[in-house]
Amino acid sequence: MIRFTSTSFRYEAEKPWVLDGVDLVIEEGEFVVVVGPTGVGKSTFLKTLNGLVPTFSGGEYAGEVVVGGRSLSSNRPADMADLVGYVGQNPSASFVTERVEDELAYAMENLGLDPVTMRRRVEDALDVMSLHEIREAPLGELSGGQRQRVAIAAVLAAAPKILVLDEPTSALDPGAAEEVLSALTRLVHDVGLTVIVAEHRLERVLPFADQVIVLEHNGVIHVGPPASMMAHSPIAPPLVELGNLLGWEPLAMSVREARRRVGDVKVLLEDCELPTVRPVPEGSALTTSNLTLNYGEQRALKRVTLDFAPGTLYALLGRNGSGKTTLLNVMAGLLRPSHGTALLHGQPPFRMAPSDRIDLVGLVPQDPGDLLYAQEVGEECRTADREHHLEEGSTLEMVQKILGKIELTRHPNDLSEGQRLSLALAVVIAAKPKVLLLDEPTRGLDYCAKLSLIEQLHLLRSEGVCVVVATHDVEFVAQSADQAIVLSQGEVIAQGSAREVICHTPVFAPQVAKVFSPLDWLTVKEVMTALGGKR
């Protein structure tokens, strides 16, 4: 179906190759997962599949790619539209029309399908992605998860043979991600669709994969079945780490498989003590009582009463649109509650002057780039120093502690996701806020970047900062959080120690907890320490 013949590509001459002499064959009807660290060129690779690279990017290109019998050197992306469907990283940027139904029909209108077929396929796509209820809705009013599903449906409706998805589940809660991925798997099985997915949260996609493509920084590509490829992959989900720890050959790719093979280890673990829950310190950094927030007639938060202690890391979980971001915005003083109060050191945050507020609370929004507006990294750090009356160079020191060496003359937009997040984080914590709020910080981060983020957050926690993270990433929660809060439709439905909350909610349970259920082990590291004591 797809054949690369010694294909090479780089964005500029003299720069390293993103793809270097790649030879690759992908068969029809396979579910392929593209794996690689942040910034290695996964998106670039995906874009070569329908010619978006090099048509839209420019750059140096050699070799040949043939997709479905058509050579990409003689076909424009538009000519491939009936064969390859492409969904980019940011679905809302790809919307051309303004209503869900029209968006679904857009590609087919361009392909010139007759109205009867179009109507039928739009209905099918609405069904597959369960979008029936919002078919008439304006695109601008959809939630992040809904937008993602509309973007996939819009491409599916044109009935391509190949579907290319760049991080399709990064904006979705675990339940919705599962739904989208099973819908795709069904299409792979039923109609022989070829699906190629790049995703950082491998724990979500690996169970579905037939083939794995591993990209390396020198432009080399390896292809193979998941179990053998993951054994040597530089980045691995918890299940693979567990397999490596226990010396499984071949590795287990699904929780079900792992559970069957884990029998004796589980018996061992039954006698081990679970790590102790970190006690919640005295005092309170932030409290909300009966907090209610209405957007017009819609109620985003309902009587939320919470108490956040200093020196603790809280995870805020919940479905897409359950009010997590709203709650963070209220706590950061960007929104004013309709009823009830949020108190930050005894004061409502929305009443404080912005310059006073940042000494008490810092928020890193979903798109950390929003916080950065200098043209260079160095300048960004210097402004932060000046604004917070710090010694010159202290923000930069912080950035280097998180990021390692970094070119000071680079534009923040040219940094990788992880680097940008770290820079925004450094700029926010430069003010030494007592409360740090992070909205969906692990989007686009690979496992290594996530680990260094966790390290950083734990360091802040030990300095007495109250850290609140709204996230869909359960593995991240398992590794980092002390306490967890679950929101649903704006209400708090569960709160308590992270171990208790996430292990007892099937949707939010991390892989290790699922494998060892009903034992409440959360991470591979915990299991390793426990077993180390046994052996």
Binding site: F56, S92, F95, E98, P115, Q298, P365
Partner: protein, 370 residues
């Protein structure tokens, strides 16, 4: 349900008809009536979607237009003699600036004349504001024939750019608040504009990419470039001739020769271009709204009034036009009012718009988007 609605094109033609009526009128009585008709229809039939909320905006802009016109008249306007209401201190200008005056006596006549001109502009705005609230301009663009496809897409991308821009401004503003930086004043303005423009540029690149990947600009076979260029040129020439001709027909003392012929030639060129290019474009239309009898009635409702007003204009000029010399009350003509009221017929042939589709509220989406 959707199919009961008059076509978007019908609504815009209706508005065009009423706008031309506004141009023809200078009697404030039927003018105010016309404004009421436009507002009523726009308000009762406005779409529940985002763009439908724009009617009030147009009303406000209209009010500002009238106000500005009045103020300019008071300050810099031509000094029309008549009943002086009050005087503004005048500034003596050197002789080379003859014809321009600043300040001086303000007469009732001058204010009335200025008010009528302002009202005329406001009515034209309101006509299109109403059409915009009822039928999205995008829907209109989508109905354009294939030869205008590229232009239509360019405009509709531009239209989608505006809400996106507002969204971006809000996000950057709250980000600045998060860093304790000013969001007002010159520093605030600069700090907001630069990132917003950067983002806008990035966004348009992504949009172009997405459109390319989804088959925008495909053609059935590779037609000769010359032929497709010819189609485009013919259509654009046709439109230009039509516009010039219409201008000639509408404005009394224009210097455009034989505007009627020009209109005819324009129409021929336009249809040539449209028909010839229609054969090469592969684009089809999803669930097109048929241009049925309701749409026809809607268009007629907008243009029948114009016919009536034109007849009145020659038979009894006082009914449609008014000048404050001498300063008397304008004529109230039942015939003129009836002509204007014909615009309401569009209400009868269009169903009430459905309630809000089930999406989340606008604010909610703003707070959680991205």
């Amino acid at each position: 349900m959707i199919d009961d609605r008059p076509h978007a094109v019908a609504w815009w033609l209706w508005a065009l008809g009423l706008a031309v009526v506004a141009v023809k009128l200078s009697n404030p009585v039927p003018m105010v009536a016309l404004g009421t008709v436009m507002f009523c229809v726009g308000y009762l039939r406005q779409s529940p979607a985002a763009w439908g909320r724009s009617l009030m905006l147009f009303v406000k802009i209209g009010a500002v237009v009238i106000l500005v016109r009045l103020i300019f008249q008071m300050l810099f306007g031509e000094r029309i003699p008549g009943h002086t209401l009050f005087a503004i201190p005048s500034v003596a200008l050197p002789s080379w600036a003859a014809g321009v005056s600043i300040g001086g006596p303000v007469t009732a006549e001058s204010l009335i004349t200025a008010g009528i001109v302002g009202l005329k502009l406001a009515l034209i705005l309101l006509a299109f504001g109403a059409a915009n609230a009822i039928a999205s301009p995008r829907e209109l663009l989508r109905s354009l024939p294939g030869v205008f496809n590229e232009i239509a897409v360019a405009i509709s991308v531009g239209l989608c750019f505006l809400p996106e821009l507002i969204n971006a401004v809000q996000r950057v503003r709250s980000a600045r608040k998060l860093r304790g930086r000013p969001t007002k004043g010159i520093a605030g303005f600069r700090g907001i504009v630069v990132p917003v423009l950067e983002e806008a540029l990035e966004h348009s690149m992504e949009l172009a990419l997405s459109m390319g990947a989804r088959g925008f600009g495909r053609t059935s076979s590779t037609p000769s470039r010359r032929r497709s260029a010819l189609c485009g040129v013919s259509a654009i020439l046709g439109v230009a001739a039509l516009i010039l001709g219409t201008y000639g027909l509408l404005s009394a003392g224009s210097s455009i020769p034989s505007p009627g012929v020009l209109c005819g030639v324009g129409a021929v060129f336009l249809s040539l271009g449209v028909v010839a290019s229609g054969r090469r474009s592969v684009r089809t239309r999803y669930r097109p709204i048929p241009f049925g009898w309701r749409s026809m009635v809607c268009v007629v409702s907008g243009w029948l009034g114009l016919v009536g007003i034109s007849i009145l204009q020659s038979s009894s000029p006082d009914a449609t036009s008014y000048a404050p010399y001498p300063l008397v009350w304008p004529t109230v003509s039942v015939a003129a009012l009836a002509c204007v009221a014909l615009g309401l017929v569009a209400l009868a042939v269009s169903p009430r718009p459905a309630l809000r589709p089930s999406g989340r509220s606008k604010h909610m989406a703003e707070a959680t988007s991205r």
